[in-house]
Symmetry: C3
Subunit: 340 residues, 3 copies
């Protein structure tokens, strides 16, 4: 893969300051880029690296273009342009078109054109796999699933029955979609299973990481709207709804029947309790527990800030005494007022 700076500028809609014939063969950081790499400046804290970078060209915004030593590709949103460039130089080995002879595909399944079905894939009865879909090795798709066009399930993914994906949905390895929600009725010390009768509905352009779980609904579906992105090891419980464009980072989780609005960001390790509603544009900080509904957009947090262990122990001990401290403070104030 190689592109001239002229071609690159055209594809990005960038203003090129430099030689349009320079050949670019890759993309790299300011620090590691060589003369045949394009680099980028999207975070001003890396600005000090501009003068020393050997990059063949740097993607920058207008206000930083003057600082670029070599060629500059001037754009409105450098990080977006960087994303587009990485896609141009994507070096992932391409899967083989067709159905590997070891795959086990039910006779009642319908496969679209130009699909790639890798070794040991299992596809159940009445599945519909859209045109251009890629199914990685050892992935299992259970009965009655529907995949829109150009979906990509990597190796060792599991889809339970009645899971419907839109178009261009990416699912990474180890992820399980449609397992039973955690629903049980307690009675006399035993748990009686609530059969999970719903399914999972995932929109278009959704990207789901590795070893993540998206459970099927108990009654009705678990729903993930268009343009949602979900990282690794994320728990999405039954009957949850994730609004359009929302992002959930690694190790986060959301409990049953909670609705998260559009364009929310749930940071790593955060947890959202069940049966809540979060408004659009809510940002939950890392390792925060949300236990009440949120009706206003904005950022929310729980927890404390990092401390050396010895100091933390003292604060943690005092936290247990906080109510007493508050009452003693009130007492002093009262007594002080009495004297004033």
């Amino acid at each position: 893969m190689q592109l001239s700076l002229g071609e690159l500028a055209q594809r990005l809609g960038a203003e090129l300051i430099g030689d349009a014939d320079t050949v670019i063969r890759g993309v790299n950081t300011l620090k590691d880029a060589t003369a045949t790499d394009v680099s980028f400046l999207a975070n001003s804290s890396y600005r000090s690296q501009l003068p020393d970078s050997n990059a063949g060209a740097v993607i920058v915004s207008a206000k930083e273009a003057a600082d670029v030593r070599g060629a500059a590709l001037v754009v409105a949103n450098p990080y977006l342009s960087f994303a587009l460039v990485t896609q141009m130089f994507d070096n992932r080995p391409q899967p083989v078109r067709g159905i590997h002879p070891s795959a086990v595909v039910a006779a009642s399944a319908t496969l679209g054109d130009d699909v790639c079905i890798a070794a040991n894939v299992v596809i159940g009865e009445h599945c519909v796999i859209g045109d251009g879909c890629e199914i990685g090795a050892n992935t299992v798709i259970s009965d009655h699933c529907v995949l829109g066009r150009d979906c990509c399930l990597r190796a060792n993914v599991t889809l339970y029955h009645d899971v419907v994906l839109g178009e261009r949905v990416q699912v990474h390895s180890g992820t399980v979609i449609g397992a039973d929600g955690f629903g049980f009725a307690p009675d006399k010390g035993r748990w009686h299973k609530i059969a999970q009768l719903g399914g999972v509905r995932i929109g278009n352009d959704v990207d789901i990481g590795a070893n993540t779980c998206i459970d099927r609904g108990a009654l009705g579906n678990t729903t993930i709207e268009d343009h949602v992105i979900v990282d690794n090891l994320v728990q999405v419980a039954h009957n949850v709804r994730l609004g359009e464009g929302t992002a959930m980072a690694g190790n986060s989780g959301v409990a049953g029947s909670t609705t998260i609005g559009k364009h929310c960001t749930i940071a790593g390790g955060a947890g959202i309790a069940g049966h809540l509603a979060l408004a659009d544009g809510v940002h939950v900080a890392a390792m925060t527990l949300i236990s009440k509904s949120i009706s206003e957009s904005g950022a929310y947090a729980t927890g404390t800030a990092q401390m050396p262990m010895q100091e933390w122990r003292r604060s943690a001990t005092r936290f247990r005494q906080l109510d007493s401290m508050a009452k003693r403070l009130q007492q002093l104030e009262k007594s002080h007022e009495g004297k004033a």
Copy 2:
């Protein structure tokens, strides 16, 4: 699947208020139910939906029966009856009996009657698979495992060697049972592995979610007693014991050699440190860290409550000053007493 209200009442031991001949074809929420659905009221916060529900019948307790617009199925525990009804209307595609030709089953393995062994399953030497067991596609069962009757392992499950399951154990996809516990002896900056010589013993009627890990014991077994339920992405370390009827929710974890009593509930994202003992009937709140043993039943928590980020920052800053604040408060009190 369809049932008359008369049959349904009989199966649930319910008192029917309404027409016994009404035909029910499904189960749904109060809000979404139609005339051929049965619904339920188990949580009084949904009581306001009763008058508007179009459900063909509603499962309720005696004290709410009068509010049901149509037919009512009156029972002592509506949530339990709802669970039983979902089981009646379970629509999961049934697995195919027999052994798929692509499965790789060791000659020394013993398979019970009426088993379902799906495509690409691998079963190791000397395994014993009980009558009626269902093993999902691409699942691996290593040597010397024993499954009691009517166990169900979904697709892409992994059992290491010497894992013993009781009867009616459910294991969801991606779950790994019997991997090595995290045991290493440090010496001169290196970690020396402690071979994990124990196994895993799981009782009857245990339900385990997706992408969960239950490690084998170092010496002796990791033990899960009867009627335990475990959600997705849960970590159960080596030599843990989970007491009868205990529940662990998603993203929770328990470290090595800890014993959890009977009928405990560990909420989502909670963590229990190693080498502890928790009494029966302990309830651990979401995202709580338990670092000391608990000898009395009851609910326990750590952490703080959610706040808008700006306010949280101020409290978090003060938390670091708590010990100083406490000492200054004492000083003021002392000085005040001196004057009084």
Copy 3:
């Protein structure tokens, strides 16, 4: 497997106090050991079990040798010697050498001597599998991966393309190495994927647990140095570096581009934010969130200590008022000073 105490003492470099001809057939805890078992005392809190132990021999340090009822194996580091003994008595079923006929191995892949390739394994184009490697059933190794000698991947592991493992690397089931990092550029409410062009480089003698995720780099590699140990359900994001001898326990996670030094320990459920640097010898407590870089070795923590729920509620309420409390305390002090 059996060893005389004389042989055992020789292998461990231990001083034997007892009969060298005593035969040992296993290893067990002080409490459960019988006359043919060797046991150990590595944690002084178990010292009270010494007098009652029926162990055939006990591994102890010199200062506790006098308390052993039967034979003693006296060593400098009993826990290390225990680790070595468990390795001697490891009873894991040995994998079958050779390539199972159901495995799908690309013609361009190179397999070393004495490899074990189990059923339904898939190995991609141009992979190089070192001598003595063991690949468990249903594991998928994508194109261009390199495994050093004596690596062991258990069942249902997934390696994406361009993942390089050193020698003697252990990877447990369900773990995914090389999935795409969670990198997206936001623009007008949509996420534009940053193709993840880097790979993963893992050193020698690394041990990785089950259902863990180690993402590939965006530009450049995610790097795990020699002698690192990683537990189950751990998230290692793109472009992270884990320094030599570092340990990460279950359910912990580290976000993108963070560098963790050598010989650090990250306890269970802890989270490390992105773009940070942690010095060598940093210890992060369980369920702690590290959100700033750490330049000095030592232990760090966040959070609060466990409390009964009712008491916790009062402290949590006061935490929200902490800034106000601090200001009122200052006010009182000021007023007090004014009077003094």
